[in-house]
Amino acid sequence: MKSFMGALRAVLLLAPMMAWAGPHYVASRDWGSFIWLSTWLDAGQTYTFETRDLAGSAPDTVLHVLRDRSGWSQVAVSDDCQGNTRSCVTFVAPDSGYYRVWVRAYADGRGGTASLYRNGTLLLSQQPFGGVPLLFAWNAKDTFRASATTPGGGDHLLFLLRSNTEYLQHDDDSGPKYYPLVTATSTQNVGTQRVVVGRYPGSAGTASFVHDEELWSTIFDDNDGDEDGLSDSLEPLIGLSPNNEDSDGDSIADTLEVFGNDGFSFSEWSSPTARDLYVEIDWMQHPTNPYLTRQPYAGLVADAAAVFAQETGGSVRLHAFIDSVLPWYEVVCYGSCPGGVDFYALKQSAFSAANPERRPYFHYAMWANRHTSLTSCSSGKAELLGNDLIISMGCFSSPSIQEQRGTFIHELGHNLNLDHNGNDVAGQYSVVHDSVMNYRYQFAGVSNSGWHSYSFGDNGCAACGSSPKAECVECRDGFLGCSFPGCGSCDCDVGEWGSLELDFSDDGDANDGAGRVSKRSALTRYLPDDKGGPARFQPRVPHEESPLVRRRDDVRRKRERLLSRGRVEGRDFHVSADGTLLYAECL
């Protein structure tokens, strides 16, 4: 009863505040740089710090001097010096040690450059200064983050102020990948409080800002329905669903895409509102003969990204990375084979060795010589509805850009559950099935244009009745007959792969934490201290190749899924003799 009354009293006290303070989100932007200077000061000495020589459209500095004595506090501050927009402050250092001089812009747009002087001596000349204050109320234990949104992006700092001149807290790099993460120690709702975001000197790039309500309240059980680490009231602000931990359906959790993570940070590349598709490409280098080396051409990444951009109008974004060099093998096989190397063994040692956290989200492409056997001239082999692919152009003396691009897009299509659409018999490839998945257009490009697309252009999937597949059935009537399996239903290529849930960790389903996170697993990745303390994302995901039994089981499930979709075994896909691989065999 006593605890109930206590909770009720707390609710009544906090209710107005909770209604007033809500989450805030600022989309990716340039916040400007701070002057953030470390300086040694001696106890008892008088120091004057000032900004001079201000330049810019409307330059206006605020200068704070901070000191860390088992916690940061403000020693001195100055906004306008003698009525001018420059700043100056004189104080006696209370003790000896390192202090911080922080110079920021008073408001958005009032940045520029300024020189910093100490006791009349020039320390820094024409330093860029900026930073943006955001004015809103917050509650104790709310979190504040700035997450980089450009690859290799900027190092940001985040400050909480009670007013323009009263410092409360700051953070540089407590969050994932050294992003700033602050948990408010006090409620601030008087109306003068502000959060200031800006960059560490010398860094570049953009960041998004997220202020979120306390997620693990001591009063309320939960305000995060999908348990993805973003409060229910924040998610609509960002355009996300409070009931879905992966709002855009790309198998990368909203939390990762909004806040980022250590190592390869998904916030720098991904968007939580667009599907992002990642591929790592490793390639084999011949020890002596550079002409045999299988290195993708330099423009492949841009070309492949452009294919996806065009195909989907930007709703699916391909991020391919030409990564590391592999040792040379004449033949690579899915599993062991005489005279060849096991793809999975090679992958185990080479796949994202420096960034294991990205393994559950990346497709793995191996640019190799030949697959399966020394006599095979197949250009590639890929898991159907999977995440591994081999590009094997050993029979091409010097594969052209078109041949490489077409093969890569083709094999990646298999990973995304696209098959050859019946075009498996040499000399009988459909003319109207205008897709890179059709051998007729794998190298030459759709309509022999040199451009590769799954189904784009005049023969795209505008309507089922006129889709390439529908025409394809008519086209084949003469030699295959209408009863050709798989041709009965409309099955546009481009419509299918967007909704796939892939099993990246090869553990038998696509809802297992490797791709789309399950309800509880999202929470277990956080380590909240005693309800309400700071939560820290645990980004590193250990990777293990699954054992044979599990892979067989996985193949069995995939086979059932494909058969239920009308796919034909032996034509649309194959299962290896040992039952551990389900693949599409390419010519």
Partner: protein, 208 residues
């Protein structure tokens, strides 16, 4: 047979001399000398070379820096592409981009520190300054300040912001009018009044 072999040998020597004279190398790739490379690898399968994994990175540890650029695809599409940054010495690269000539301190710093980006240079010199002994503190501070000044020289100059300029003009006009009312106040009170007015003005601007 043997004589024929000798003839072949002499012919090879003569051909070799001619080719060398013509500047054509005689080195034959090792794999071409193998009778059956697949068979060789079958007998002695190459071990899968384990790749090195990097230790836990520090904030200032050298990471492979990606050069990210917008690439124009067909039909006006633009995609973001990351490529490894070009390998040139920091001094050459930074000196080329600097708006004004570098000082000797800055040049010396770039010769000593091999970094790909300025934020890392600042972090590293800052850490060295904060870890310095009383004897080395002055030198480390000079290096740290040189790094920060280098940042300024390599930063793009502030761009013209007409909105900010218009806003500032409005503020200065309003401030001048207000100041007339504070003429009789003590300097400390005038400063406080200005601070209050500034806050009021810019909070109002934010809501405009």
């Amino acid at each position: 047979m043997r004589a024929r072999g000798d003839q072949v040998g002499i012919g090879s020597v003569v051909l070799g001399v001619v080719l060398v004279a013509a500047g054509i190398p005689l080195l034959v790739p090792r794999h071409l000398l193998r009778e059956d490379s697949a068979a060789v690898s079958q007998r002695e399968p190459n071990p899968v070379a384990p790749l090195e994994t990097s230790p836990v990175p520090r904030k200032d540890s050298p990471e492979p820096v990606l050069h990210v650029e917008q690439v124009q695809g067909p039909k006006g599409l633009t995609v973001e592409v990351a490529t490894p940054a070009p390998v040139t010495s920091p001094l050459t690269r930074f000196a080329k981009d600097a708006l004004v000539p570098l000082t000797p301190d800055e040049e010396a710093l770039l010769r000593e520190e091999h970094v790909d980006d300025l934020a890392t240079l600042v972090t590293r010199t800052e850490r060295a300054f904060q870890d310095a002994s009383p004897e080395t503190r002055a030198r480390q501070e000079r290096r740290y300040l040189a790094a920060l000044n280098l940042v300024a020289k390599l930063s793009a100059p502030p761009t013209e912001d007409t909105h900010a300029r218009d806003q500032d003009a409005r503020y200065q006009q309003a401030l001048a009018r207000e100041k007339a009312k504070w003429r009789d106040l003590a300097p400390e009170e005038q400063a406080r009044a200005q601070e209050t007015f500034k806050e009021w003005f810019f909070q109002g601007e934010q809501k405009r």
